[in-house]
Symmetry: C2
Subunit: 338 residues, 2 copies
């Protein structure tokens, strides 16, 4: 290594009451366990398996959390990991940097993230302090696409959102967002000049923290890759509404790209994002759990798209990624026992 | 990598009021800044420099914190790092696993670590949960050799303690410990059957947490290397007084080994520790800051001895370690500016 840290992935984790609503997320196979998903995701990327979190996040169809793919890449290229706790609802045994955040409420309440501005500010300081020339930033928060839709609607941005479920419950999300706007006493686009208010009323702590880190890192001149799908579009929208024209990359997966409920290319273009799409080719495995990605389950999250991009840039083939992902997945399943 | 994590260094950090007493420690050049030293040490090993902690820990003679050597090794062999917060008094921007500890009091108070048993218990669970076949565990806590002496005296163990100062203020330490015993209403050896009481009355939160992690990790069969000097002798004494006969290695530096105030070989032997001593040979550099180690400043800490052992085992020469350490040191000094 020449500099102190050539590759760092920042994973921002948190929870909301919104994410506990039925039918919004594939991140966990039982609503009462959903709040452990980001804690388990952090442990999987850090240690290779959940070591304290009482769940192995898989969708109802057995599709593993994208944390498994991010972990597989980490085992091959050994990037540094910084987990930032934006507001977890459950303990994690992964080392985290806590920013004083708490789980978000249900966005159908008047206020979704009471301390959104303070969180953004602390995250911006953290972003400024990062020593790296380049960062890749991902997220894990159940129900995150719904709060992303909330923020984008409050900002008056037209972008659709993807889903970790094969059939996007987009009407349900829109209904939740519509109720949230009403209870927050705003209409679509009303907070366009004040994106932190959009997060406070309709967002989640992860969007607040990712946005802050990105702004701070850009202030030092670091290159920033937003690793994810439509939640990262919401982050980009926040940053543009702050009046910032920074160069930003969006690294996501083919599975989001193919999702017909979101026009990723035009959304990325109009937000001024340099889009890169990776295809891990899980349909080429005969692995039941992973091939679910090809059927539209999971799709993205936990920095998966960004990790795959780092893999490619470091000469790792997608065939190698698939092999290692199967190894990582089997380790998880073995741990679960019979 | 074959398994999930072949090399992990666990760094346990904390503070005590004992460590703020004048003249006990070289860990920082001003008493009011001492409490930031473990926070800065964690940032140096994680990021290569302090990124938020407002200090660059150097001794009054300009000798850098051993964190610089541990960092240098990390840049060469890229071990995984887990920082455990046993009770920091100042924020760190390094990601940490917090165990609900608080800074210890002044051991001249009746109680030094009120929640020593709870801390030990949580640390033991963490040690049990670690997925690694082998762990190396180090510490950073100002004044840690004084609290180590406190614990060993309470246990009735005769071992001496080293110092980060070239002239060990051993009489001052003994006086502090004697006052502590009196205020805790015990005599030497009185807590021999109850080592957690020894920590509670006369120790620090780092000893509680390191001891717990070691016991938990050994319960899973993991190999454990205690990385450090006399503070790790105190940990070993605690573990033996718990009635455990586990195989344990102690990896430290030549600078502790040469310290005449402690007979490291016989201490290690009587505690049943497999001793390994590394010599980074800093006298061969003409580097003012590093050659201070050869004059007995710093000596050990922040996992230095364990990191050097990992380096050797991974084919890295001490000449390479010296070169990289100079690079890391210059980076710190450049950051400080004129």
């Amino acid at each position: 290594m020449d500099g102190p840290n050539p590759m760092r992935v920042i994973l921002v984790v948190g929870c909301t009451q919104t994410g506990m609503l039925d039918g919004l997320s594939a991140a966990g196979n039982a609503p009462e366990l959903l709040q452990h998903t980001p804690a388990a995701d952090a442990e999987i990327v850090e240690y290779g398996r959940p070591i304290c979190a009482p769940v192995t996040p898989v969708s109802p169809t057995g599709c593993p959390t994208p944390a498994v793919i991010t972990r597989a890449v980490r085992e091959m290229i050994d990037f540094d990991l910084l987990v930032v706790d934006a507001g977890l609802a459950a303990d994690t045994a992964a080392p985290t940097l806590a920013l004083g955040g708490r789980p978000g409420t249900d966005i159908r309440e008047p206020i979704a993230v009471p301390n959104a501005s303070a969180l953004f500010k602390r995250a911006r300081s953290l972003g400024r302090a990062q020593p790296d020339d380049a960062i890749t930033i991902g997220e894990s928060i159940p129900g995150g696409t719904t709060t992303a839709l909330g923020v984008m609607t409050a900002l008056g941005e037209p972008y659709g959102v993807s889903s970790s479920l094969p059939t996007n419950p987009v009407e349900r999300k829109r209904n939740v967002v519509a109720m949230g706007l009403e209870r927050s006493n705003i209409g679509p686009g009303d907070t366009a000049p004040d994106p932190l208010a959009a997060i406070r009323l309709m967002g989640d702590p992860v969007i607040a923290v990712v946005s802050g880190i990105v702004v701070g890192a850009r202030e030092t001149g670091a290159r920033v890759t937003l690793a994810g799908g439509t939640q990262m579009l919401a982050v980009a929208a926040v940053i543009r509404h702050l009046g910032r024209t920074d160069e930003l990359a969006l690294a996501t997966t083919r599975y989001v790209h193919e999702d017909e409920t979101v026009d990723l290319e035009s959304s990325a273009a109009s937000l001024g994002l340099c889009l890169s799409v990776t295809d891990p080719g899980f349909e080429r495995t005969d692995h039941q759990g992973l091939s679910a990605y090809h059927r539209g389950v999971g799709k993205e999250g936990v920095g998966m798209g960004g990790a795959l991009r780092l893999a490619t840039r470091n000469g790792v083939t997608m065939a190698d990624v698939r092999d290692r992902t199967v190894t990582c997945y089997e380790r998880l399943i073995d741990d679960q026992g019979p």
